[in-house]
């Protein structure tokens, strides 16, 4: 029983570490993607996103027709964002530095979602242009 508990705690710790790194690797792929002027206007993100932008950007994403390529990435980042919110609410009073770390990470999530929005808009424009050609 003791051994199982030890394995459980250790594996949860590694699971958390790999999950954070996996989500960061997803977000890293879009961190150098510059946002278009339209998306910057509509989301209110100028150069750097903030933790509070995530909710607004995901609401805008829901208004835009879906793009299959970024669906799983967005789902993973959404789980990560919820996890960060829970971590911030539960542990920030014990470790205050956790709050700024979680906010920094949530800002990364918001930027990732904004890049996905940018790609969706560009994709839909392309589709419309193709329809017009017919």
């Amino acid at each position: 029983m003791m051994m199982a508990a030890l394995i459980f705690v250790a594996s949860l710790a590694t699971l958390w570490m790999f999950f954070v790194s996996y989500c960061r690797s997803l977000m890293a792929s879009s961190s150098r993607h510059p946002l278009s002027a339209e998306v910057r206007d509509v989301t209110g993100i100028r150069t750097v996103a903030s933790a509070g932008d995530y909710r607004r950007v995901t609401q805008l994403l829901q208004l835009c027709p879906d793009r299959q390529e970024d669906r799983t990435g967005l789902q993973a980042v959404s789980i990560y964002h919820s996890f960060l919110t829970a971590t911030r609410q539960m542990f920030a009073w014990i470790v205050p530095s956790l709050r700024s770390w979680a906010e920094h990470e949530q800002a990364g999530c918001a930027y990732f979602a904004a890049v996905a929005l940018d790609r969706r808009i560009a994709h839909n424009r392309e589709m419309l242009a193709q329809q017009d050609n017919f």
Partner: protein, 231 residues
Amino acid sequence: MPGSIDLIIWFLGTAFELTFVVCSLARKSFLRYFFLNLYLLLSMTVSIGRFFILWSSGQGSDQYMYFYFYSDALLTVALFVALISLYSHVLGELRAGEYVKWGAVFLLLGTAGFSYAVVAQSATRLSTSFAYELSQNLYFVGLVLTYILWGAVLKLRETRTRPVQIILSLGLYFSGYAASYALANFSGKHGIIQYICPALGCFLPLSWSLTMLRYTEESRLVPAQLLAVPR
């Protein structure tokens, strides 16, 4: 017979395994990730074989039990080889291929020897117990090796997106598997716990396929962005 959820998970897992192989062929990366493809092809064959034996002999039959445990041991060894091939990818530039190969052989033999020593006292069904013990121990060794490999990725500042994401998916798979295994020891395989391991089996080929689809071999990322706590 398995329930509808088991069948859905089985179908999805096999479909994702096939997807990865097709994606690597389409992206001309089949040989580069040969051992990953080999593992998934083997896993696909085993899944189909298990399904047919289950269909013809039933879940409680000896045929199914023997096939299940031996094929599981074979798959674990194949996954171990796939993991070692990722070491070769990451440590390739250090020309450490020979050391990695011999290290892997010693580790595999050591794990097999340890597993044999554990089950040697049991007189009944020695080979089945050995296959089961070897699988469990190799999973644990796999988790530790993936953790070390991830350390090497960070230390060597690996920038290739594909190997990085493949290793991270493997780390998630091993950790999730170990956690659900420990959880099953606490509470038994009831409710949702019985579906966690098969669902994790779907996650691995799915995330590998997405990596293969999304990124090319030239895709790069900044290693510092991967650290959970920025230095």
